[in-house]
């Protein structure tokens, strides 16, 4: 009975379990992208020269700039957690906005990158692509599917981060109760982690 009374007083929450749940979700995401990496690996082996030719079309500068932007944003959100844990609410919120800004830069960059491809008549099902060999079609298909799915994750991450920032401002997430920011940050790091593998596979290895 005494235990029940105590439990009633304490807030009903379990931060460790919340974090474990987030990790389980991250595992499903890793396997989702993992499947795409696998398809890429096998087709790369099958159509080696065509993948080589097609990958030369990608602009390394776009990829490199986006890599830097995502790495900086990842550090910013990790620092936002440190700041919140140290009860520096204002700094934490500023760092989250910096992360959102980086996400926005990433998306604008992606817009121009994809836009340039569209201008050259390279998009799934385009006239030009249909005339090209099988390997080229597969490479660009994978390029759009993988970067597109990743960009979707960037957008979702951006929305989640804005929600966290609002909650911190409202005082619902604070130095004693930060698991929501911690999980949002985990999601954002996942986005960074996936890009760390996408960048060399699509842009660097030719």
């Amino acid at each position: 009975m005494e235990h029940q009374a105590k439990a009633h007083l304490l807030e009903h929450r379990d931060d460790e379990a919340a974090k474990l749940g987030m990790w389980l979700f991250i595992f499903t995401e890793i396997l989702l992208f993992g499947g795409l990496f696998l398809v890429y690996a096998v087709y790369r082996a099958m159509y080696h020269t065509q993948f080589h030719e097609a990958s030369l079309e990608l602009n390394v500068v776009f990829g490199a700039v986006n890599t830097i932007v995502l790495l900086v944003s990842s550090m910013a959100v990790a620092m936002a957690l440190t700041a919140l844990q140290e009860n520096k609410v204002k700094l934490s919120r500023q760092l989250i906005w910096l992360t959102v800004l980086c996400a926005l830069i990433f998306m604008v960059n992606k817009y121009f990158e994809w836009g340039a491809k569209f201008e050259h008549d390279i998009y799934p099902g385009s006239e030009l692509l249909r005339k090209l060999e099988h390997g080229h079609i597969l490479y660009y298909g994978l390029y759009f599917a993988m970067t597109g799915l990743h960009a979707l994750h960037v957008t979702v991450g951006m929305i989640i981060l804005i929600v966290v920032e609002r909650r911190i401002k409202a005082g619902k997430v604070h130095a004693e109760k930060f698991v929501f920011l911690e999980n949002a940050a985990l999601y954002w790091h996942l986005v960074d982690l996936i890009w760390i593998f996408l960048f060399p596979l699509l842009y660097l290895i030719t």
């Binding site: 993992g34 096998v42 550090m75 440190t82 790091h189």
Partner: protein, 97 residues
């Protein structure tokens, strides 16, 4: 403090996070430079090794895995092993067709 919540509230110092970022940026620069030379199959190997190293840094420090409980660490390890197995088995299948 908040011991009764049993939150492993390890606070990562700003300095550590900044250092990790500098290393990550350095590694990015290194892969771009190395892969700009034509080293045949080595390009893929080096690029993937550097990516794994970067991934390790992000998981350990940004995602706090280094300070996480043993269960989470084991689970992450198992997922990586599972993914490696899927890749290896599929590749074996592809190679012996």
């Amino acid at each position: 403090m908040t011991e009764h919540h049993s939150t492993s509230a390890h606070i990562t110092p700003y300095r550590t996070l900044a250092t990790v970022l500098v290393v990550l940026l350095g590694l990015t620069f290194v892969t771009i430079e190395i892969t700009s030379f034509d080293l045949k199959a080595w390009n893929v190997t080096i690029a993937l090794l550097v990516a794994c190293l970067k991934g390790y840094l992000v998981l350990s420090y940004f995602m706090h895995l280094k300070y996480e409980n043993l269960l989470t660490k084991i689970l992450v390890g198992m997922v990586i092993v599972l993914f490696a197995l899927i890749i290896i088995i599929t590749y074996i299948d592809y190679l012996f067709r």
